[in-house]
């Protein structure tokens, strides 16, 4: 078992000559809340896409708990233990809230009922469905969404949709949770509440969190360490307060 939950070595990708990200070395320890910040277009989401297998990196390697997962498919990477949310929310809009979370539970071994069991509706099918529903409700309760469980997910207000997306990701039982701008579009109260929730799920589910966020108050209040990206390269990294006060970082953000 490696010391780090996530480790990347010299990770990089180029799109037709443009080096979107290069030379990224991330080292994230267990149970850390790790931040990734940087101006728009710095390549943060691209990093997420490489970590989750949407893009295949042109250089470098990704290790999850010491296991090389570079170039694996999105599904496999999820099964290995990385779950994510998206910058532009991607829910299953025509499903109810509870079903969205149940899709997240789909691959858990304890809920595995085969094709025949399902089609013939054997007792196991009903048992598994019930267990899944209970588990999903339990997760929704953490996010204060239990009351909405039978509403269609597309009818939820924006902030709750973001929370539901986290709940769904959490349902896949990840080791590492990637959150892409979780606080975007939330008001200060909601943001504060979300910080609490993220800490809570970190402890309750014993996971590690890597997040992208523009809200500096959010990042400095929550993250243990950060990496600052600019034009696809690492500008600074280390303890949150140090990295954010780095003169280079301030220059990149404010300009100068």
């Amino acid at each position: 078992m490696s010391e780090y939950v996530l480790e990347t070595q010299n990770l990089g990708i180029s799109f037709g000559g443009l080096k979107a990200v290069q030379g990224l070395d991330l080292k994230i320890k267990k149970n850390q809340i790790y931040g990734m910040v940087g101006p728009n277009g710095a390549g943060k989401t691209t990093v997420f896409n490489m970590l989750t297998g949407v893009y295949h990196p042109t250089t470098g390697k990704v290790f999850l708990c010491g296991e090389d997962i570079t170039g694996k498919s999105q599904e496999t990477i999820n099964h290995k233990g990385i779950a994510r949310t998206f910058q532009n929310i991607r829910l299953f809009n025509n499903m109810t809230v509870v079903r969205n979370v149940m899709v997240g539970l789909h691959n858990q071994k304890e809920y595995n009922s085969g094709f025949i069991t399902s089609v013939l509706r054997l007792p196991k099918h009903f048992r598994v469905e019930k267990q899944m529903r209970e588990k999903a409700k339990e997760i929704l309760r953490i996010f204060d969404l239990e009351a909405e469980r039978n509403n269609l997910s597309c009818n939820l207000p924006y902030g709750k949709q973001r929370k539901l997306e986290i709940a769904r990701a959490l349902a896949t039982n990840p080791k590492l949770l990637l959150l892409d701008e979780p606080a975007a579009g939330m008001n200060p109260n909601e943001t504060a509440e979300l910080m609490e929730t993220i800490r809570l799920i970190r402890d309750k589910f014993d996971i590690t969190v890597l997040l992208i966020e523009h809200d500096m108050k959010f990042v400095s209040g929550l993250c243990d360490e950060v990496t600052v990206l600019n034009f696809g390269t690492v500008l600074a990294k280390g303890k949150t307060a140090d990295a954010l006060n780095d003169p280079e970082v301030i220059k990149a953000y404010i300009g100068g």
Binding site: T52, E75, R90, F92, V103, H106, E129, N150, T172
Partner: protein
């Protein structure tokens, strides 16, 4: 909420009840020796075939969300290979239920294999491209059966197949509809069905959530093709010979019309529209003569276009919400305003200023007034 759940379950059983009741009535009539008229038997056969086709296509189009324009191709495979097996078995086993059963299984499985083959492109292609590949597949199947091995499949003359006694075939037909419903409805109500719907709703999110896209796309295509194959075998039994020309692109479109008319992802709707269209086709075929028979195609086309535009046009969203069937019903039942339903734009529009002066920096507070809007009626919101 509980009421809603009850409705959902009821909706699934109503299909079994109606089709099952029809089946029992026909079976009893047959047992007591009371036959329905020959023309009705013919109609009922065709209705059962159309139902199987529409429900199975709905699995791919409605639930998986991919357009298949080659459904008749799968049916063609079933009709030819199942029909061939039937004519071979007829010599030894006779033209009985056993031959029918065996040829149904063979025809269905052969079509299912084709379903896997056509499902493979579906893993790489989406939308328009996949639609055109399925169309191409249907045409290829047609051309092959028309030309390959004329001694085996009869070439352009068609494949002679055993004809089943009409007095019983429609009863078997409805039994097969029941099996189709059983498999597809139960599948969609399970975790597997949830995975298939998740792929339709958002493929990227489904993959990130760990859903095995390959498995479920192939599953949907294979099952859909299997039942299309079964419909094909059934069809071959209603004819004295099958001709590949019948299974062209136009037939695939006709099945698609049934699915769209009944509502994509709505199985009850597929059953109703399959019945309706088959019935109208049969009635109109006797009423309209020559080229005016095409009048019905024209009407179908217009209905298809109108329904799709009405249901999907972004510009008609407000209209749809206002004059929705469900809303009209609920207006009749509940006179007071439902507090659980708050529209997005009710977010305090009266607080948005409508005049902006020059050089003014304006900030607008459009947060929802919690006292008025009650999205979570059972507990006070923590916001504000």
């Amino acid at each position: 909420m509980i009421k809603q759940l009850k409705n959902v379950k009821w909706k699934h059983f109503v299909n079994y009840i109606v089709v099952g009741a029809a089946l029992i009535v026909f079976a009893i009539l047959r047992l007591v020796g009371e036959d329905v008229p020959r023309s009705t038997q013919f109609l009922l056969q065709n209705i059962s075939i159309a139902m199987i086709l529409a429900v199975s296509l709905n699995l791919v189009v409605g639930f998986l969300g991919e357009l298949s324009l080659g459904h008749a191709g799968f049916m063609c495979v079933g009709a030819y290979l199942g029909g061939k097996i039937a004519s071979l078995l007829e010599a030894t086993l006779g033209n009985g239920p056993l031959t029918l059963l065996l040829s149904l299984v063979v025809g269905g499985l052969c079509a299912a294999v084709c379903g896997v083959i056509i499902g493979l492109p579906a893993l790489r292609l989406k939308g328009d491209y996949l639609a055109i590949v399925t169309l191409a597949f249907g045409e290829i199947v047609k051309v092959i059966f028309q030309n390959a091995a004329p001694k085996v499949f009869g070439g352009t003359l068609g494949l002679p197949t055993p004809k089943y006694s009409r007095h019983e075939l429609y009863i078997y037909g409805f039994a097969l509809v029941l099996i189709t419903l059983f498999v597809i409805q139960n599948l969609m109500r399970s975790r597997h069905g949830r995975a298939i719907t998740a792929i339709r709703d958002n493929e990227i999110a489904a993959r990130a959530t760990g859903i095995n896209i390959t498995k479920y796309k192939l599953m949907a295509f294979t099952i859909s093709a299997f039942f299309a194959g079964i419909a094909g075998v059934l069809f071959s039994y209603t004819q004295s010979s099958v001709q590949a020309v019948k299974f062209g692109y136009n037939y695939s479109i006709e099945i698609l019309v049934m699915v769209v008319l009944g509502g994509m992802g709505n199985i009850t709707g597929s059953l109703i529209s399959a019945t309706l269209i088959t019935y109208l086709n049969t009635v109109l075929a006797t009423k309209l003569e020559g080229d005016s028979a095409v009048l019905k195609d024209m009407v179908y086309a217009i209905i298809l276009i109108t329904i799709i535009i009405y249901r999907n046009a972004p510009g008609l969203k407000g209209f749809r919400e206002k004059y929705n069937f469900k809303n009209l019903i609920s207006k009749i039942h509940t006179k007071h305003h439902d507090p659980a339903y708050v529209k997005d734009d009710e977010a305090a529009w009266d607080r948005v200023p409508t005049k902006i002066h020059m050089d003014e920096i304006l900030s607008v507070d459009v947060s929802v007034d919690v006292s008025k809007s009650t999205l979570t009626p059972d507990k006070p919101s923590k916001e504000d």
